[in-house]
Symmetry: C2
Subunit: 360 residues, 2 copies
């Protein structure tokens, strides 16, 4: 019995992918070995990693002048690696602060000695907004502008790509990676952990424009040295092989379901239906300004917080799990990533409607 | 059909562990979710990680004044993290150089600005030796002494634990982790990647004495800040959850087979049988001085290198895979980690004997 799993991450994965991984976990491609057991330098795994990269490039539409890196340590590791790769100590780096993940990125960059300039800060709205386009100015000498396209905790998503002029734009796509088509050429660096839309925890996928590969500090750790890793096909050391293998399966699944245009339409429709249900009710509330509402993470509160525990217990019993909101926000949060089917959203809306009818 | 897989890493895993992981990959513990899909902060996974740590402590005999950390980035990441955690820029760190992995650790430490003092260097023997006990002096002001108990490529293993007096001893156990009982109290820090004896690639296990947690540089990346990670039960950020889950299964498998004393006896016996077969023949040669021969990685050459390709092709056909030696050493290498059964070593010896009889 599978449930609908609304976890913010690690998160629900496509069932066909899990079934294939399970079926071949003791004997991969007739090798008599698990994919967990093969050398990353053997021809079979090298082909597997190359296939995952090629599929990522096809699905995301990555231009030839960008490198795709598979690195260990997740997005939090890249919070440290980004300033190490792009900014000398004391150099200015610009940030847009839209919530907790923005703040973590800022904290780590400051720890690496960059001069943090926060060009826009949405704390006044309790992080329920994104800045208006054109409402902020990026210092021309900034090494980069960093922003968080989707804030997993606040459920706030940029409805546009910020304009940074000639300053390289760096974006933490962790919680909205490949959720829809994007124009990669707008960005200097796209990065994120895989564990929401793209597989198990432990893998960071970094897409970096080639002209940015010459800016690293001499003391950047080798496993985060983008140029070294680009030259080594991400295999300077042993990479997280199982994560790369599953990433490949998930990318093929995305292609089999119509690619990112179709994925984006499904994700938009899922989110719109859930927001419509929330907005049609006085019992449920989403705090985010409508234009900045996330397609991926949808927080909502009940009119009477005393009912939260009953709501969650009933949801669990109905096979709708991990709906409890982040401790810093409270209430509920439904994370509906790529692998959440339409039926899961329908089941949640039906449950919410019935709960309100009987308990409000 | 499973083969005997002599890969140096990622490497053969216990079949019962793979079967259990496959059986529950779509529904873990009756949750209706995969272990790949659950939040690292949910009670089920928190219990899973706590169980893995407790099992590690039991199996390895970790005293209470040591912390066990599960970190991303493998041993190569720790090559950077160790000086960041233990030595200020310019401080002296001592190293024993017994081969390629020692050299990588030294290179990364130098990149982090420590004053590298190599107290013993086995390059003169082409890395077929370890230094005699007492033959080297560790500077009393060294922040730590680093060594590599087992060199995966050269097949060289220390038959003793070096004496560093009051200098903290730091050991890269990647390729011999939990292969036998050790006295943890001899060490300041034990670390290693999991992908030889302890699971899939992507996880570093760091065992650190608590009094060493106060020495980190202010700019150590948060995900490698041992003190921060010790305070967060290794969950400052999303850890490599699947690797931790599999580590737990493997530790329980080690316990079910008698623990580290029994494991060490089996590993000793496997290695002795293979070395005996090599030494009894003029056709096969192992270059390592007998007292420093690895129990884990056994390189050997054929008298006539022109037969190498035939040897490997015949081995593959006999279900004995990944025997090709490292490109820097040539010949063959049989890695016989914990999960390689006695029968695998017997099958290899039988094949070697028959190959010599028919082709020498």
């Amino acid at each position: 019995m599978r449930v609908y799993n609304f976890s913010a991450g690690p998160a629900q994965l496509p069932l066909p992918v899990l079934k294939q991984a399970a079926a071949e976990l003791t004997d991969w491609q007739g090798s008599g070995m698990s994919v967990l057991e093969v050398s990353h330098r053997g021809k079979d795994f090298v082909a597997c990693a190359a296939d995952a990269e090629a599929a990522f490039r096809r699905v995301a539409g990555v231009p030839d002048n960008y490198r795709v890196l598979f690195l260990a340590g997740g997005a939090t590791g890249q919070f440290s690696a980004i300033p190490m790769n792009l900014a000398a100590p004391g150099a200015t780096a610009a940030f847009i602060n839209t919530g907790q993940w923005s703040k973590k990125a800022i904290k780590e960059a400051a720890r690496q000695g960059v001069n943090v300039v926060t060009v826009a800060d949405e704390s006044a709205s309790s992080y329920t907004t994104t800045p208006e386009p054109g409402s902020f100015t990026v210092p021309a000498d900034a090494a980069y502008l960093h922003y968080t396209p989707n804030e997993t905790i606040g459920g706030v998503e940029f409805p546009y790509v910020p304009d940074a002029d000639d300053v390289p734009l760096v974006a933490d796509f962790s919680s909205t990676y490949l959720s829809r088509a994007i124009d990669v050429e707008r960005f200097g660096v796209i990065y994120g952990g895989a564990q929401k839309n793209l597989g198990p925890a432990g893998l960071a996928i970094v897409v970096v424009r080639e002209d940015l590969l010459d800016r690293a500090r001499p003391d950047v750790p080798a496993i985060w040295d983008w140029k070294v890793m680009a030259g080594a096909d991400s295999m300077l050391n042993t990479p997280p092989t199982f994560s790369i293998y599953l990433l490949g399966l998930i990318l093929h699944w995305i292609e089999s379901t119509g690619g990112l245009e179709a994925m984006g339409e499904r994700n938009r429709a899922k989110a719109e239906r859930l927001y419509a249900a929330i907005d049609a009710s006085d019992f449920y509330t989403n705090p985010v300004e409508p234009r900045s509402r996330s397609w991926m993470n949808i927080p909502f509160t009940l009119a009477d917080p005393a009912l939260d525990a009953d709501f969650l217990a009933g949801a669990d019993a109905a096979g709708l799990t991990n709906l409890k909101g982040h401790r810093s926000v409270g209430g509920m949060r439904a994370s509906i990533y790529n692998a959440m089917p339409d039926d899961g959203v329908t089941a949640l809306i039906d449950y919410m409607t019935e709960f309100e009818r009987t308990r409000a």
